[in-house]
Amino acid sequence: MKNVVLLTIDALRQNALGCYGNKKGLTLFIDSLQDKCILFTRGQASGPYTQASFPGLLTSSYYLEYGKPRGLAPERILISEPLQKAGIVTAAFHSNPYICGFFGWNRGWDTFYDSMEDEVEPRIPYIRGHIINTKVSDWLSSHVSRGEYKPFFLWLHYMDIHEPYMPDRKYVDMVEPSLTLRQDEMFNLFQNTLRKRDVSDPAKVAMLKKLYEIHVRETDTYVQKFFGALEKLDILKDTVVIIASDHGDEFGEHGGLSHDDKMYSELIDMPLLIYNLSRDKGEVCDTLVSNVDIPPTIIHLFGLPPVEAFQGHPLLPLGDYLQNGVFGEAIDQRSQRGGDIEKDIYFYREQDLKVIYRANLDSWEMYDLKADPRELNNIVNTSPEAEGLKGKLKPRVRRWVT
């Protein structure tokens, strides 16, 4: 039995990766893994921000499954829980407060680090990737040390790409040595442009995107270090690594910044790679898949019986995957109430057709992602397929209201 690692990267857009067509060389290490990977070209997040997406990634269920989202509902099953019951060692290392122990995400982990007890830098509300790596390496060496060890499931999550977009000079120099912006200027840009979702000045939006890309480059070095740690312990060959993001980030594509309650590709398209050193060659899979498929895939990799509550399907073996439409949902989480369930939004996608529904406005959109990848041309009133897709989405709308 192999170990399984789920490596998630916060706010990483699919098209920031070289292996997904980005030409800027920001992810040279991840790109170099491709001959041992299955790359999913149509991976979809089940929500556009952390709270909406992580129920999919770790519990194979949807954000609004139990009405108003507070902590992790007791009904949800975290991937760590069935694994721990089956005797697999489970460990988690991350620094995202939305999914910290306080909100219930620490269930089923033998080791759970969420950084909430640790100090963070004044302007950056999370622990950097190199510290996550140190903690992960320490844990790995203590667990694996000398010969026999129990198979493990390790989840690690890097936050570094997430705003406030204040990369260290070292990484700026790797991508854009001519960039002279100081840290306080970066912070100003974050405070006065990004936080205000002000896209009126294209130069500022371009600068934010540049800083974001520098963080992507930075994170690629963390992924490389992590793989190095597995190699050093000689367990890379015994470990399957799933790489994904929770959501993307917007740079004015639909009039906004960061990641709010929207369902367009810049937020929903998810990079998804399954790395296995034993593979003969790389493979590209164009099937439409969802992040809710990741927990069942992990269960499958450990050879365990399916978990009934999981709503996704195992991605492996590839040929057996049940092709279906994919869903996502979110609410306006920037409202003063800290999440307004009265302002809810949903999407449903089949092949390259996507419908989006804003329930509080009762407004529908539909896009043909093949003909219109930037989702600018709403065809909901003209497409013959609109009614069919709307019909499939409707049962999920406000299903907590009975």
């Binding site: 507070r70 407060p97 939305y98 910290c100 122990g101 306080f102 007890e117 920037r334 109430r337």
Partner: protein
């Protein structure tokens, strides 16, 4: 005397020094003790009471905050010992917020339904919304139910010094804490000194002391709770394993609960959450 007994005696002696220094600096009537029913403030109270008995001093008044989400076990434990130890105990409760929430947890509290003091406090923490949920996880609710009641008590009784059961090893942020911490007066907060006599105790030493001196504690600790807060936000760390039998050294005390919730909320706000 075993090593353990010796160690506990030394730790208590240090605490007693802090308490005696306090009685030198303040009049008894200007002092108060915070007591939550938990193990730390309970140990502090027990030590202060020892000093008072030994030195023939009246025990200062005791305050506790009723967050409206209290474990029955804690309530019963406190009532029992308040009587047995003859404490001058005051339960502080922000009834105005409870009334505005219709007496229900999770219910929305409309700012306009609150009294002037609570509205002023909301302004102080820069809350600008029209409503917030009356829940233990909410930063706003927590502030009004706890911090505000604490400040109001200080003001009402003209308290100059208040004992707290904080420990340095609880969290990284407390490593630098001093036994006496002066809180400067600011808007809605009267000046006062916070006194922390058990600052140097580790979690393990706290339990050793309870054991050696047979100090009474709340039964929830026998069920596996390690840290007690509001009922809906505290969780059992290890079911059926008494707090002192758990692996205190290698696991986190506050895994089931967070007093540093405010730190978490601050991080959430920095990430864009309102």
């Amino acid at each position: 005397m075993t090593d353990k007994e010796k160690e506990c005696a030394e730790l208590i002696e240090k605490s007693k020094e802090v308490v005696r220094e306090t009685f030198k600096k303040f009049k008894v009537d200007d002092l108060a003790i915070t007591w939550t029913g938990g193990k730390d403030s309970g140990l502090g109270l027990w030590i202060i009471r020892q000093v008072c008995q030994e030195d023939g001093i009246k025990l200062p008044k005791v305050m506790t905050i009723d967050e409206f989400d209290v474990f029955q076990e804690i309530h019963d434990f406190m009532e029992k010992y308040a009587k047995e130890w003859n404490l001058d105990l005051e339960w502080c409760r922000n009834d105005d917020v409870i009334k505005a929430a219709g007496g229900k947890l999770d219910a929305p509290v409309k700012v306009k339904d609150l009294d002037e003091r609570n509205r002023a406090e909301l302004k102080r923490i820069e809350f600008e919304g029209e409503a917030f949920p009356f829940e233990a996880e909410s930063y706003t609710g927590n502030h009004l139910m706890k911090t505000v009641e604490f400040n109001k008590y200080i003001e009402r009784h003209n308290v100059k010094g208040i004992f707290q059961g904080l420990r340095r090893d609880e969290q990284a942020a407390r490593v630098q804490d001093e036994y006496f911490e002066k809180k400067e007066a600011s808007h809605l907060i009267p000046e006062h000194i916070r006194i922390k006599p058990i600052l140097h105790f580790t979690e393990r030493a706290v339990w050793n002391t309870y054991q050696v001196y047979k100090i009474p504690y709340c039964s929830l600790y026998e069920q596996g709770y390690r840290s007690l807060g509001a009922k809906t936000t505290s969780a059992i760390a290890e079911p059926g394993v008494s707090a002192w039998e758990q692996d205190l050294e290698n696991t986190t005390e506050r895994a089931g609960r967070r007093q540093d919730k405010e730190q978490m909320m601050a991080r959430l706000r920095d990430l864009g959450y309102m």
